[in-house]
């Protein structure tokens, strides 16, 4: 296999910088002439982001992505989104790509040093989707991974995805200094809410005791799964049944005494589903107070959807599900709920009876919906 040389890579980066400065007409792309010339969103995205800090190496029509050092959806949101989107675009079989288009060959974890629970779950979901699409032929090569990254993904259940599990018989070394324990991820299909019941037992195991007010977290999870079933994968998107999944995990940070529960689906996102939902008229009543240019942005749409029940007159029994997500935090009296969907973030924080709501709009969207509950446990074991 002919590999790209360091000299060629340096040339490509230089040309990329020139392009950004308006001094070059085309982005360099190895063997560009061999790829069928056509325009679509995926191709434009790759061309647009190639010159950014995307660790993308291309040989003929095969791409290798090297994950960055740190991945999370807070301080490293932009970088993390870049990589998970690149994986989605390069592994998406539904975009009608011609045979010569770039395909993902490998994802390198060698440089990854730190990854949040939510980023690890999203990454696992994207690789699981890729693995499903190529009939379980992925094989992880962990030789050069950082040991604590191997441990983190092992606890997440990442390696159970693969038929050729390189860690079969692997014994997790007891690390007394390790503060983070993870629940093996749970993967479900539309309507498959019974699996959410598994989470309680797993969380109790890593925390060491039951969690007060658990019923309200489960209620929120059930509504999140119902939303996936009803809205996340509309028929017009031609998503196969195999790909209509949701993913769930939890983590416990012993030193900070914080429990996190993370839910993710790879659907079209809440802002996109609103116009065709039964609550659009009521959402518009909330949005009309905003300037017109803000009415269609994902951040405002998400906020309106979550706060719908608060403003509801009861004339319609729809639209209460997203509000259910807040109850776990409210009943415990502390913690925060974050919802990232497309380009919007909605965060509800409750501390000492003081509730704050923060919304953010992003330039680059998360292709799906990510929900994160984070609570401080009262005692080391509740």
């Amino acid at each position: 296999m002919k590999k790209i040389t360091i000299k060629q890579r340096e040339y490509d980066v230089k040309k990329g910088i020139e392009f950004r400065r308006g001094k070059a007409k085309k982005l360099p792309l190895c063997n560009r002439s061999r790829v069928n010339k056509y325009t679509d969103h995926a191709r434009e995205w790759i061309d647009h982001h190639f010159h950014e800090a995307l660790g993308l190496f291309i040989n003929k029509n095969k791409a290798i992505i090297t994950l960055p050092r740190v991945m999370n959806f807070s301080s490293e949101y932009d970088t993390t989104i870049l990589y998970v989107t690149a994986i989605r675009i390069l592994t998406d079989n539904n975009s009608g790509k011609p045979s010569g288009f770039l395909k993902l060959q490998r994802v390198n974890f060698n440089e990854l040093e730190k990854i949040s629970t939510s980023a690890a779950l999203v990454l696992t979901a994207e690789l699981s989707k890729w693995d499903d699409s190529i009939i379980q032929r992925l094989r992880p090569l962990v030789k050069d991974w950082k040991p604590h990254i191997v441990k983190q993904f092992y606890e997440l259940g990442f390696f159970d995805l693969f038929k050729n599990n390189p860690l079969q018989g692997y014994e997790l070394e007891k690390d007394e200094k390790s503060n983070l324990r993870l629940v093996k991820y749970i993967k479900g299909e539309c309507g498959d809410s019974k699996k959410a019941r598994l989470l309680r037992e797993e969380v109790c195991t890593i925390v060491g005791d039951s969690i007060d007010k658990w019923t309200f977290l489960r209620s929120g999870l059930d509504e999140a799964i119902t939303n996936v079933t009803q809205h996340a994968y509309p028929d017009k998107n031609n998503v196969s049944t195999v790909d209509k999944n949701w993913y769930l995990t939890g983590s416990y940070n012993k030193s900070k005494n914080i429990l996190k529960v993370v839910f993710y689906d790879q659907g079209v996102g809440i802002p996109k589903t609103l116009p065709t939902s039964g609550v659009w008229e009521r959402v518009q009543q909330i949005l009309y107070k905003l300037p017109s240019f803000e009415q269609k942005n994902d951040e405002m749409l998400l906020k309106a959807a979550v706060e719908l029940d608060r403003t509801s007159t009861g004339a319609n029994d729809r639209g209460k599900g997203l509000h259910d997500l807040l109850e776990f935090i409210k009943k415990r009296g502390n913690g925060n709920l974050s919802i990232i969907s497309r380009r919007g973030l909605y965060r509800f924080t409750l501390k000492d009876s003081d509730a704050k709501i923060k919304t953010v709009g992003f330039e680059n969207p998360l292709l799906g919906t990510l929900i994160i509950w984070s609570v401080a446990l009262t005692h080391p074991a509740e």
């Binding site: 658990w214 309200f216 079933t229 029994d317 259910d324």
Partner: protein
């Protein structure tokens, strides 16, 4: 002299029961048949409606919320309970007069309140029922 007339006896309310966890599902979730195999629509059409219709005049239905059930979402509660009113099977007042919601886990008081709220908010016969089965 004995009068032969008994002292008036109190009218006793008979009680039927519906244990959702045992008689329906420990994982009730979703609104329609297409959402799950333990949806609010299924609960209403196949369990609750029949139980309510089978009650005699002075009979109440005791509904046990929490035997094995972890939680309820609003989708299930609105479609399962308020749907009885929405589709014209019974008025809000009548339904609330016929049910007695019980639980042993104090956290489930929240769901009892939600059931009552959704029943009260529902508009009688405001929609025609069409099965999603």
């Amino acid at each position: 002299m004995e009068c032969g007339i008994d002292a008036p006896s109190r009218v006793k309310m008979k009680m039927a029961t519906l244990n959702i966890g045992k008689e329906f599902s420990i994982d009730p979730v979703g609104r329609y048949y297409s959402d799950s195999d333990a949806s609010g629509e299924k609960f209403r059409e196949e369990i609750l409606r029949k139980k309510i219709n089978a009650l005699s005049e002075n009979e109440k239905l005791t509904i046990i919320l929490d035997d094995g059930v972890e939680a309820y979402g609003s989708s299930f509660l609105t479609e399962g309970f308020a749907g009885m009113v929405k589709y014209g099977y019974i008025t809000s007042q009548e339904l609330l007069g016929k049910i007695d919601i019980q639980f042993s886990d104090e956290d489930f008081f929240f769901y009892k309140e939600k059931v009552i709220q959704y029943i009260k908010e529902a508009k009688y016969n405001s929609e025609e029922y069409q099965s999603t089965k």
